[in-house]
C-alpha cells in the first residue's frame, strides 16, 4: 500500500531498508526530519552530534568500523563538515557511507543560498539528487550501493521543496547486513603525505569510472516528447519543467548530478532543436554542457537567485503569463516573531534598552534583530557571535568592550561557540558573552543537545554544565540570570559590561513551547488603569495589541510571563487567576 511520506522521512526509510546502522547529525532546516525519523527505527543507532563536523567524523568512523553509516545536514552545515569530507574522499569507505545535504533555494530558513553541488565537484565524490519522495528512498539505497562499489562517500542532495514535500512511496523490508570485518590498513585510512599521494590518483580514476557509470545508469533518464525544446533538469527544476511543458518538450532528467555524463548529454542534445538547462542556483550543469561545445540556454533565461517555478518555465519558454487576481490593497507582511512567553524577549529588551552593540548568532534569537527589539548588529554563521565580538573589540578597543555583547544559544554554543570563547579567554578581550540557555535546540523544532541532559530518544544523558565549561576556559566572571526578571538582567548586564575582564552571562529559562513548561494564566488589562502609553509594546509580544487606545492581551496567546506587567508604570496588567 502506498504511503504519503515527507522527502526527509523517505530518506530515513531508505536508510532503514538499506541496512544502515549508524546515524549522526546536527539539526538544520530543511534536513532535520531525516535524523528524527531514522531515530524511530530501533535497528539504527542515531544521535545528535554537537556539530556537523563531529557528525560526519562519527559516520566515517562507523563506516570504517564496518557498518553502513550516514549523516545529514543543511547546506551551511556542509561548510562545517567540509574538512572531513575532502579527506574521506581519499580514504574511501569500508561499509557504505552516505551524506545528505539539504540546500535551501529561496532561503526559507537560511542565511545564504549556497549550491552544495560545488562540494561534490571539489571533493570529487558522487552526488545524487532525488525529485520526489519515492526517489528520496530509492536514491538513498542506491547511494549505499555506489559507495561500496566505487569505494567512496556519496552525497545525497536535497532541496527544501523535495525535503519538505510529501509524496507517495511504497515501503520495502530492511536488508539486515552483517558487520563488515575491520582490518588495519594505514595505506587506506591514514592520510599523511606518503599515503595520500598514492590515493589521489585513485580518486581521479574513480571520478572517471563514475562518469562512465553516469552514461548508462538509470539515474539519468530521457523522457521524450516534442523535440523542438529539450530540457536538461535536476530535482525540483525537473518537476517544474515537466508540469509547465508536459509532452510539448523532451527531458533529460539528471538524478546523478556529479559526475555528469558526456555522451548521454551529446545524444540528447542531438535529438532536440533548442536545448535548455533548468537548474536552481548555480550554472553547474550548464557549464558542463557548454564545455562540451553544445549550444545551450541556461542562466541567460533562468535566474541564479531563488527558486524556479512552473509559471516561470512556462513564461520563459512559451511566453504564457497566468491570469491572476490582484488586490489593490497593501497587505502588511507577517514576519516570524518570538513566541509569547519566549525567554529571549526579556534579555533582548534589556539589550535594546542599554543600546549595546550585539554580535548575533544563528537560532530563534536571531529574530531579536527585528522591530521593535531590533537588538542585533551582526549575524554570520554558527558560533560567529563570540569570535566576531572579540575581533570587533580588538579593532575598536576598550570603549567598545564596555558597550558590546555577543549572544549565542545553548546548542549553538556547543556547536562552535566554545572555541570562540577559548579565544576570548586566551587572547584576553574584555568581551561580554551572553549564552541564551533555553534548554533545547529551538528553531529547528526542539532537538536535544549536550546541555539538555537528554539524548535523541529522550532518554537521560550526560549533561554538560555551561557554567563549568566557561570556568574551565578561564572565565572568572560567570553570572546566571532569569530573563523574565528584567531588573536583575539590567543590573547584571551593566556589571559585566563594566568588568575589566572577559565575562559570561547565562540567561536561563526553558523555551515556552516545551511540553514540560507550565504556563501561568493569561494577563488582562484593567482598562481604567491603562493610559495607552505603549510602554508594553516595546517588547514586541504577539499577544499584546492596542485597541481603541488601550492595550489588549490576546487570551489564547498569553502564557502569563509577566514581562508586560513589569514594564507598566500604571499597574494596568492584572495577573490572571487572582482577581478579586
Amino acid at each position: 500500500m502506498k504511503q504519503l511520506m515527507l522527502g526527509n522521512e523517505a530518506v530515513a526509510r531508505g536508510l532503514f531498508e538499506a541496512g544502515c546502522g549508524v546515524v549522526s547529525s546536527y539539526p538544520g532546516t530543511p534536513s532535520t526530519e531525516i535524523t528524527e525519523e531514522a531515530a524511530k527505527y530501533d535497528e539504527i543507532y542515531c544521535e545528535w552530534a554537537p556539530n556537523e563536523k563531529v557528525a560526519m567524523e562519527v559516520a566515517i568512523g562507523a563506516s570504517i568500523g564496518g557498518k553502513r553509516s550516514f549523516c545529514a545536514m543543511k547546506h551551511v552545515g556542509l561548510n562545517v563538515a567540509a574538512d572531513p569530507l575532502f579527506t574521506a574522499s581519499y580514504t574511501g569507505v569500508n561499509a557504505g557511507f552516505v551524506i545528505a545535504v539539504a540546500d535551501d533555494p529561496g532561503m526559507h530558513s537560511s542565511q545564504n543560498e549556497q549550491d552544495s553541488r560545488h562540494y561534490a565537484i571539489a571533493s570529487k565524490v558522487p552526488m545524487l539528487e532525488p525529485a520526489d519522495s519515492a526517489e528520496c528512498k530509492a536514491f538513498a539505497k542506491r547511494a549505499y550501493e555506489l559507495s561500496e562499489q566505487f569505494d567512496t562517500p556519496v552525497i545525497l542532495r536535497l532541496s527544501t521543496r523535495i525535503a519538505h514535500s510529501q509524496s507517495l512511496i511504497e515501503t520495502e523490508p530492511r536488508t539486515e547486513l552483517p558487520l563488515k570485518p575491520y582490518e588495519k590498513n594505514p595505506q587506506k585510512y591514514v592520510m599523511m603525505p606518503g599515503m595520500a599521494k598514492k590515493k589521489h590518483p585513485v580518486v581521479e580514476q574513480r571520478i572517471k569510472d563514475l562518469t562512465e557509470y553516469a552514461e548508462t545508469c538509470d539515474l539519468n533518464v530521457e523522457i521524450m516528447g516534442d523535440t523542438k525544446i529539450g530540457i536538461i533538469a535536476n530535482g525540483p527544476s525537473f518537476q517544474y519543467a515537466r508540469e509547465a511543458m508536459g509532452d510539448s518538450a523532451s527531458y533529460l532528467k539528471l538524478g546523478m548530478v556529479h559526475p555528469l555524463p558526456v555522451e548521454k548529454i551529446r545524444n540528447f542534445a542531438r535529438k532536440v532543436e533548442t536545448l535548455y538547462v533548468i537548474e536552481e542556483l548555480d550554472d553547474v550543469i550548464e557549464r558542463h554542457v557548454r564545455a562540451l561545445g553544445i549550444p545551450v540556454h541556461g542562466k541567460d533565461t533562468f535566474p541564479l537567485i531563488g527558486e524556479i517555478s512552473q509559471n516561470m518555465v512556462r513564461e520563459k519558454l512559451t511566453g504564457e503569463i497566468p491570469d491572476t487576481a490582484v488586490l489593490s490593497e497593501e497587505i502588511p507582511v507577517r514576519p516570524p516573531v518570538m513566541c509569547a512567553g519566549c525567554p529571549h524577549r526579556g534579555l533582548f529588551y534589556t539589550l535594546s534598552k542599554n543600546k549595546v552593540m550585539v554580535s548575533g548568532d544563528i537560532g530563534c534569537y536571531t529574530l531579536g534583530a527585528l522591530a521593535p527589539l531590533a537588538a542585533m548588529d551582526t549575524t554570520v554563521c554558527m558560533g560567529a557571535s563570540i569570535s566576531g565580538l572579540h575581533g570587533f573589540n580588538k579593532a575598536r578597543g576598550e570603549e567598545s568592550e564596555s558597550r558590546s555583547v555577543a549572544v549565542i544559544g545553548d546548542s549553538t554554543f556547543m556547536h562552535s561557540g566554545m572555541t570562540g570563547l577559548a579565544n576570548v579567554a586566551y587572547n584576553a578581550s574584555n568581551s561580554t558573552v551572553i549564552i541564551l540557555d533555553n534548554s533545547i535546540t529551538g528553531m529547528t523544532g526542539h532537538q536535544q543537545n549536550p546541555t539538555t541532559g537528554y539524548n535523541i530518544k529522550g532518554d537521560p544523558a550526560a549533561k554538560i554544565s555551561l557554567e563549568k565549561v566557561c570556568e574551565a576556559m578561564g572565565i572568572r566572571r560567570v553570572q546566571v540570570v532569569d530573563p523574565y526578571d528584567l531588573k536583575t538582567c539590567d543590573r547584571v548586564l551593566k556589571e559585566e559590561l563594566a568588568a575589566k575582564e572577559p565575562s559570561v552571562i547565562i540567561s536561563r529559562r526553558p523555551c515556552a513551547l516545551l511540553k514540560y513548561v507550565k504556563h501561568n494564566p493569561p494577563f488582562t488589562v484593567v482598562s481604567d488603569k491603562c493610559r495607552g502609553c505603549k510602554s508594553c509594546m516595546k517588547i514586541g509580544c504577539p499577544a499584546i495589541s492596542i485597541k481603541n487606545g488601550k492595550a489588549v492581551v490576546d487570551q489564547t496567546l498569553c502564557v502569563g510571563c509577566g514581562l508586560c506587567s513589569s514594564l507598566c508604570a500604571f499597574d494596568a496588567f492584572d495577573k490572571g487567576g487572582d482577581k478579586a
Partner: protein, 194 residues
Amino acid sequence: MNQTKSIMIVGVGGQGTLLASRILGHAIIRQGFDVKVSEVHGMSQRGGSVVTYVRFGDRVDSPTVDLGQADVILSFEQLEAARYLPYLKKGGKVITNTQQIDPMPVITGTAVYPENLIEKMKDCGADVLALDALSLAEEAGSAKAINVVLIGVLSNFMDFDKEVWHASINECVPKKFLEINQKAFDLGASYERG
C-alpha cells in the same frame, strides 16, 4: 493539459494548518489519486505567515502551487486569504475563517490591518465563502478544532465520499480528541452560507 487540482491551506504559524493538510492528504490517497503535500518548516513557523500546498490528480509533478493555479484557497485568517489571493485560479474559491490576527507591523503601528477584506476579495472576482470557524470549533468543544471545521467546509466542494473524510480524521487525530474533531467536521460540512 494538466488536470492536477491545487488547494492552498494558509494561515498563521501555530494555527494548526499542518493537521488540516494531513487530513486532506489522507483523504486524497483514499480516493486513489496521486498526491503531493508541500510545506515549509523552520523559521516561518514562529507566528509567521504559513502556507501548505496540496496537489492531486492522475500524476502530480510540481509540489508547489503557483500564481493563478489554486482551485481552492482554504484560509485560517482573513489577511492570509488576501495575501495569497493572486494564487487563485480564475473561477477558484476562497474559503476563509473571518478571524483576524494582527501581524507584528500592525501591533507596532507601522502598518494598518486592511478593512473589509472579504468584500475587496469579492470585488476582485473571487468566489469567497467567509465563516466564523472559531465559533463552530468552540461549539464542537475546542477552539483548536478550527482546522477540522474548515476541512468540513472544504469537503462540500470536493466530491469525496463522506466516509473517506471520517476515516482520514480517524487516522490523523489522537483518540482522545476524536469526538470533538468528528463533531467539528460535521459542523463545518453542514455549514451553509449565512
